[in-house]
Subunit: 387 residues, 4 copies
């Protein structure tokens, strides 16, 4: 961080993520962690009373606790001290309309993934943002881990040689039982909307975690698959979306890959793992042990690279706060997205056109194309489907 | 081991596995380890001089060092002190003719996998053995690890609930470069025959290690896939067999699986790993750390089971020689096959008809069916293929 | 967190931890992470220009960037909007005078460990705080990790039986070479003051990390040693303080322990590890993998407990922000101290007398007694020394 | 193994290690594994009936099943086909008289550690062997692991720089309860003799596993401590020998060390671990994962060395049977001692005076000196005691 001059925190608002929402709390911690944002407004619930209560808990002024995101976009855009950035942490079906409201109001947007529930909506957002000139970031937070960025840089520098094999998997077990059937109970709210196609879109595990896996693989390898063959499964009886997917990948270079994602894998917590093998070396990374990356050069001992150590690519050092041996985790990586997006926004405010520091609409569009291709292939008995 | 009475070591011979052959040395150590065999004859090379030299190194009498396995079968069957058991450690294309020679001579056979190079040959052997009444074992040695047997018993006892997901992979890197092109040099002999369809059969990594992975998955899960979709790849230019396969599996129960095997995965040594997830729990096992098995019951802490610990299924204890914390490995598991097969042979000698203690012709036939299905699917752009 | 009502962030200042100081950045992130503090003042350097520059970088008003902590204590105490809490992140020799200044001004103090450079100063602080009635916390941050708190609760609940053995070690390698000799260079400033007895006190690795190890062992085991025998070593030629200590511990119960701490252990980053063995079970925890705790009940498989999982003691859940599988780390634990101390301060502001939620002066006094006992024992050729 | 000519197996006998003895079975497997020995005689029990029964189980001729080791030494020495090597696997108090009987009969001896129960006996054996000219090996089996030998070679080659710190520990839990009190039951026989000073000698955990730890540390580091300070503890009430020791070590070079050994450490199986830190690098090895050795060069990523990989010191390759990724374990290391000792014996038979390939009387003498120093220091409240 060469520039140490004080940066006024950006005025920030949040849509969704009210009381009891895991991801809302993550957004707020991530926004606070590096001191680059100050929360001043929110549409934390569509129920006015809950919206006010949730906002009050967070110290928001009553007149900036909105029950309607459209009203929030309008009102904030009109205030001289209105928000400069909004984050969207709603169920998926609202990403598109909420994003539209703020983009149209000229407010920069940081949106949860998956970007939308359809590819068409994703393409629409991309057009809209181009027209309106705001910055748009997508919370593919795993790509903000320092060692993931190191891995990407190492691949780009040719340290693996030519890539042959991409293996990525993302496993959880929280939907191993029909949790959504008890969804009225507080705490299973998330299971309910995530398995309801109307709120979540048609992709279950695929949309929730498969997209993370796909984005991570592409982020590190620098390659998107050319075609895929997907087996899309729902194990839990009565569930309305997939809870387990297995996908064969083929790349234009001839490389091969496997991606699987499951929310019914007993004993798995939040296990996103990637292994990439090239002609000269391989790298392995595991989100549950994010402070290490192993590098496996052909014919030599494997090496354990640790976050913060000397000799890593500079992109890793820049995303690191504290020395090696002092573990950083999920919140720091999420906060890194926020820190990077703040810089994107400041560039925009200064009239600078700079490359985005965080995943954005291109990633989101490719992600939705991946989702639709997997669903299409799955419906066609795993027929090869171009991306 | 309830019966402690002394068992005269079985008279044993070896075909293949002469000077410099890795697997020949493994067979000899495994045969010796538990004291159940004494080596008295061998056809260690088809070159008479090398056959004699290899035999002399092992202390064989000169007249029992054969250059021709047919001659060996004939001569040994004719001797009053002839071999009772032969092991076959030749390149794959010889498994069938060598096995025929010894089966027909009434000698029990322990044969390296893959059983044959074609399904037809495998079926032929099965018929022949039925007719002739000898015992026939196949060296699917990984299924002889104590904790693999424990895993199988746990699955059979319902400790995982209903199985949903089978993930098995077997990775190596020794063929990441075109080693066979330098095959005349001593030491690359193995690379040469293993990549030569005439000697090895049409399946490369598939036959060599994919069959191990498939057998292990079936052994533990107790289920064979109903259909598969395979992507069969050759990464190294000029190579005449596959060196990387990725296979989607579907089971009759609705369970799903992935099997991948690669001999070009940089940094991988002999990495056979399996994870099986059921409705109630999962198990993970890794051949490179064979003395532990992790058990992941839903909603409870993962448990580390170690070879030799109290409370494991009895099949594990029976395959264990020394206490927990004193690691056993590959050779002990291989020796376990030998120990178990000795008991099979003694049963046959006593006129007892007992269930085989080691994998045999049914496994071999299913394995060859798997190989042919993968090759067929691969040739048809990964079309679903019934097994 | 049962009480969700909004808590106005506490007005907070920092002494020490200016530009380039690792621990200053940690304090600021920790203070921000849970939104319980707002930084409004600082004495970030004794050099007026640097103090102002450092403050400006952080957005402090110029008149609240102090070069003299005494002036800061006086001025802030006099303001109606003065700081309510100060954190002390200076070299050790200043802990006592800085703390005195703020305590005497009636400002709550969160102070880096080791508390002071002498036991006498530590006792003085304890008296002073009693008299003045402020809250005083000490940054024994490792005791704020959720699984460390779980471990303590498990020991207290008798899950280990009677404790027999305490093994704790804290290893680093950053002082394996005479880094302080190049101390004028930016970045080695820390090596310089930490090896200068005038700034750091007489205890090197002992004071810096040995005290953490001792506190952690006591925190989890619930026992302080009765006597110790210490070998105190300086490996790097010319170094003026110890860089490696090894201590035998005896407890009144008859339990035994070993504590060692080293800053010259090549390849070690920030490796604080503890293992406690009782008559019924053992627990192991490793700061570099802080999201897991292993529990080893006698005669049963080891169990892997993970931060956030169901069934952990409630003290662990209360110190956890995000679900299991989403790793938290060093900053979250540090922030937990801040969050807990904020509650302590609010209790004090409400006139409530509540037990401290964070380590405090009793810990600090015991820590300094430990330091002095180790130094005494070391000087007496490791003679047994009572605590 | 450059010399491939056939080596006639040595005629071998065993004293001790009858029915139910763990270590007897280990000796027999180790002797068989590489085909260098054939068992022809034994004194497997002092009870004539049990001696015969145990021998019969192993296929020994009835007249070579002895109940008296003196008789065995006499009779075997007198036979033209008498044993050339004897192994001693009795309780410790018999090591000295049994060894004397065979040494005096001119038979080569491979003896379990600890060598004797007193230093005087150890010195006596050393003299006797010198006089009689037989080979004498000691089963410090852990030093026969290939990666332990690699570690020793790396230290000797200066890859660690100057050694500063030696950390070695050996933990088990099988004596965490008073198992010996139930010693009449079959299976607890070992607990009974190992805790009976008359049979075991005065050193409990110290003699059984502490000596292994000390030998391993010396074997790898190439240094013996100059003085030590030991805390010797007995945790289990009524136990007559120590079950937990903690020892501070000082080396002449100024290096420091800690050695601890415990047989009451709940959850530990056979956990022998060593870490050695030098000025330039460190190495870590763990007996329960013996196929890997980690190397930690200062300022560079840690490297994972695996048994069998290219680039290891040749002493490791020579002690390796199968390729990397195919785990070897405890039995292979034990067998390595047997293989090496066979070569020592053949050298002697050929009239060659060669350096011993396995630990021997010098190791045994130093080990007994270590035991006596620890016991002396322990009795003197951990006073520093020269070695």
């Amino acid at each position: 961080m060469s520039d140490n001059s004080f940066k006024r925190p950006l005025r920030w608002g949040l849509v969704g993520g009210g009381q009891g929402a895991f991801i809302g709390a993550v957004h707020r911690i991530a926004a606070r962690l590096d001191g680059q944002y100050v929360m001043v407004a929110g549409a934390l619930s569509s129920d006015p009373q809950r919206a006010r209560a949730s906002g009050a808990e967070l110290g928001l002024a009553p007149d900036r606790c909105y029950a309607d995101y459209r009203e929030m976009a309008r009102a904030e855009a009109a205030r001289p001290d209105g928000i400069e950035v909004v984050s969207i942490a709603t169920p998926n079906h609202l990403h598109h309309p909420v994003a539209c409201a703020f983009i149209d109001a000229g407010i920069h947007v940081l949106c949860d993934k998956p970007l939308t529930t359809t590819l068409a909506d994703a393409l629409d957002l991309r057009e809209r943002v181009k027209t309106r000139g705001v910055r748009f970031g997508l919370t593919h937070n795993y790509s903000a881990y320092p060692l993931v960025r190191a891995a990407r840089a190492m691949v780009a520098a040719g340290e693996l040689g030519e890539i042959r094999i991409v293996q990525v998997e993302y496993t959880q077990d929280w939907l191993a039982t029909p949790l959504e059937a008890t969804g009225h109970v507080i705490g299973h709210k998330q299971a309910s909307w995530r398995t309801d196609p109307a709120l979540n879109g048609p992709a279950g595990a695929l949309g929730d975690i498969g997209t993370h896996a796909a984005q991570l693989a592409e982020f590190i390898s620098g390659m998107a698959p050319a075609e895929l063959s997907a087996d899309v499964t729902t194990f839990v009886a009565g569930r309305r979306v997939d809870d387990h997917i297995q996908v064969q990948l083929r790349y234009a270079s001839g490389a091969r890959g496997l991606l699987w994602a499951s929310q019914v894998a007993c004993g798995e917590e939040n296990h996103l793992r990637i292994r990439i093998y090239g002609t000269q070396a391989a790298i392995h990374w595991d989100q549950e042990q994010p402070n290490e990356l192993t590098f496996h050069p052909a014919g030599q001992p494997a090496r354990r690279l640790t976050r913060g150590m000397a000799g890593l690519p500079s992109v890793a050092a820049e995303a690191t706060r504290i020395p090696t041996g002092h573990p950083e985790g999920y919140l720091e990586a999420f906060a890194q997205l926020y820190r990077d997006f703040a810089q994107d926004v400041r560039d925009a405010q200064a009239g600078l056109i700079t490359p985005a520091r965080v995943p954005g609409l291109d990633d989101g569009v490719r992600s939705m194309a991946f989702v639709e291709a997997v669903l299409r292939s799955g419906a066609a008995n795993a027929a090869w489907t171009a991306l």
